[in-house]
Amino acid sequence: MTAMFGEPIQRLEDGRLLRGNGAFLDDLGHHALAVALVRSPHAHARITSIDVTGAVEMDGVVAVYTHADLPGRIAEPLPLLIPHPALTHGRTGCPLAAGEVNHVGEPVVMVVATDRYLAEDGAEAILVDYAELPPVVGLDSARAAEHLVHADVPGNVAGHLVQAVGDADGAIAAAPHVLDLELTIERSASTPLEGRGVLARWDPESRRLRIWTSTQTSTGVRAAVAARLGLALADVDVITPDVGGGFGVKIVHPWPEEVLVPWAAMQLGRPVKFTEDRLEHFVASAHERGQQHQVQVGFDHDGRVLGLSVRFWHDNGAYIPYGLIVPIITSTQLLGPYQPGAYRVEFTSLYTNTVIVTPYRGAGRPQGAFVMERTMDAIAAALHLDRALVRERNLIRPEQMPYDQGLIFQDGRPLIYDSGDYPALLAKLKALVGWDDFAESKAEARAQGRTIGIGLACYVEGTGVGPYEGAHVVVETTGKVRVATGLTTQGQGHQTVFAQIVADELGVPVADVEVVTGDTRALGYAVGTFASRAAVMSGSAVALAARAARAKAIRVAAAALEASPDDMEIVGGMVRVKGDPSTGIALGTVAVLSNPLRYAFDEAAKAATQFAGGDISKPPVEPGEAPGLEGREFFSPLRSTFAAGMHAAIVETDPQTAEIKILRYCVVHDCGPLINPRIVEGQIHGGVAQGVAGALYERMAYDETGQLVNASFMDFLVPYVSEVPERIEIDHLETPSPLNPLGIKGAGEAGVIPGAAVLAAAIEDAEALPITSMPISPSDLFELRRSHGRGLGR
């Protein structure tokens, strides 16, 4: 049988989704009561009164709740999920605002009605009076701290962290060349096509709560909600149905609605559902990316970095439930594939009266790559050196692996790159894009009156962060295999890739493997889907669990055949003595034999009953064994594993309109061995589209009063097909990780990371103007030209 690992097979999940038989959150719970929320129209205000009378009297309205109606722990601020010693002033919001609102969209009153239309009618009839407070909008305003978001947080500073390796200031002072750069990235957001949503059903007879939620962590929601509601974990099931995209925003938990909806379901004794609409997703979920950076770099005559000092300011929005993860990732992953000599990084995370900031695909890495790669380009420009050459001179060499950057990473563990070959990646990228021949193309284009430019950008991505994931593999008596892993799925094709792993380990067809994810009933211990960790973490756990099931199948079959386990193999779903098909026992039969029975429930089961034979000198279940043909294993790696990649882009800019067109987009990528190349390439395509979006189109446009003025898909420009590169050219390198049994590294976020960096570089090359702020629209480029004294038709 051909190995399935590495095969670009079609996805097992597609048939269901293509027929319209997916089950997304709002496809469930047709009889549930519907929730609408009254949300703050102000960025910063005190609530002076709430009059719910109009709603309470309305037909179809079942219940109305304000903060004052919430008991005990339900009313309390939501958990601060990731505490850190540097997060000195962590503040989180309450499920319903407690007297003060800190961003437009913050929930104030919850209306429960018989359908969503009536719930919205109810919400409209509620009168809330506010006394407006001065809003803090944008990093300049937050840094100036003329006004405070939270009265008890001086300077609007949530946290401040410094990390250093060596004496960066000394190295810079002694360096022959020094450059200072200011680099800015604006806010964007995950914006999955399906917003958030939660459905809860309380069974008063069994006193059990069942929650369906569009989340990236079902176990996280379960723990948080059980704690809030005072229920035992065992009495709460959390099921993640099909999820219409996550990209980070759905790792946050519990959202206010994830507390309110289960609580209301218990209060009312009826199922209750909240389905977020698009406007709510813009103003009441999460954004990311907004940061300002100051860079000072010292380097030698060859462009080698001797010292790098980076200070940056991170806009964390109104609250900080996810802690300092995003700026910690920027501050560490900024280094990319380079050895910077001495390095010092200092960041300040600031409150503003805007939507909260939590990881969005890439999670601080796009900003880090933008800073580092802009710095590399600036060094090359200062020394009149080739930009690829400057990078080449600063790369960590493969023989230096594992390479310790001397910093602490987002998982609290040392930032040690486990493996990789960065010079080989660069060589592949240069060949793929034709780097060395580009000057000629550029000159030819110029002769035709066209302006084109090329850029490249590199990144290293810590993937597969701990603490752990698990898997439970069960071979049924039918021979079919059921696999459960606890983390959730939102389009990555987990069902397919995990089935591929199991098919190889157990020697069964992929079609016989069924995979369940994100259901606490199937596996109660899990962490979640983020940080490109699912394939590494659950993939490894699935492999280990399948190996355990395989070993057991061999033990059971060997005992039945009175053969030595060492002489056994599994081929095509049959367990047999090596090379002897006549001895083959089907895996399903082995599953029957693995569970000694008193009662035969069907024909096949007779083989496992007490008079069917067996060694009467031993107990039916030997010490150390358990009934059933199963494997249950957990995988917990020492540290993250580090994937890497490099992108190159060629752009053309219009001399009149400043329109920016991507002519070519090339990706070389190293995520170790590919389980399914088709799926990895799909991840890259989607990531690149989001990288392009963040570079050229998407920004959250807040006005000075804190209103998000582009809170719709009409105005926030998620790319259509017309905005993304027509073809992404991809090449792979595979350097296996030593940190997991399959040698794999994560691939989910890779495509997005160098987007802003590579397009800034290409535009800068085309225009010969410094690009220091992204995204850049045609209008921005037009203005930039004008500010440099260039008129139309340069």
Binding site: Q10, R11, E13, D14, G15, L17, L18, R19, G20, N21, G22, A23, F24, D26, D27, H30, E57, M58, D59, G60, D115, Y117, D121, T191, P192, L193, E194, D242, V243, G244, G245, F247, D277, R278, Q490, G491, Q492, G493, R678, E681, G682, H685, G686, G687, V688, A689, Q690, S712, F713, M714, V718, Y720, V721, S722, V724, P725, E726, R727, I728, G751
Partner: protein, 173 residues
């Protein structure tokens, strides 16, 4: 005290089956299909007509069901994603092409692409690559980056030509 909204009878033919529903005048066709008729394959991504996830084929034309009132569809014949596969469950050419080309990831926007492309290929059975981009130019996908969806449009046209009858799903057009 408000009074319950007035109900209106709406007669539809959905995926070949007659259906009569009683809805308030303001009920969106998307909600009517999803919640009254339980055809939840049609998804709602923005409710302002931009993303295209809710696209259905109404009297042969691809329309945004989130911008259509159910009452205004009275008497119409509607095809949703659930009606694309053949009576025996065989995937239509467009559906099969999406599977062949890895044209979907999370699958949420997919029904809107499938209906949009199905309607467009009925009018233009031999699209160029530029046509393919034009066909899907009003639908948002956040997962795939579109490259494989463009391929799927071309692949679907190829499959339709190869299948008897050319409609691609074995149903009456």
């Amino acid at each position: 005290m408000s009074s319950p909204p007035e109900q209106h009878q709406v007669r539809l033919v959905v995926n070949g089956e007659p259906a009569t529903v009683s809805v308030p005048a303001r009920r969106l066709l998307s909600d009517c299909l999803r919640h009254d008729l339980r055809l939840t394959g049609t998804h709602v991504g923005c409710e302002h007509g931009v993303c295209g996830a809710c696209t259905v084929i109404l009297d042969g034309v691809a329309v945004r069901s989130c911008l259509t009132l159910a009452v205004s569809a009275d008497g119409a014949s509607i095809t949703t994603v659930e009606g694309l596969a053949g009576p025996d469950g065989t995937l239509s050419a467009v559906q099969q092409a999406f599977a062949d080309c890895h044209g979907l990831q999370c699958g949420f926007c997919t029904p809107g692409f499938l209906t949009t492309i199905t309607a467009a290929l009925a009018a233009n059975p031999a699209p160029t690559e530029d046509d393919a981009r034009e066909i899907i130019g009003g639908n948002l996908c956040r997962c795939t980056g579109y490259q494989n969806i463009v391929r799927a449009v071309l692949r679907a046209a190829e499959l339709m030509r190869a299948r008897p009858g050319g409609t691609g799903n074995g149903r009456e057009p």
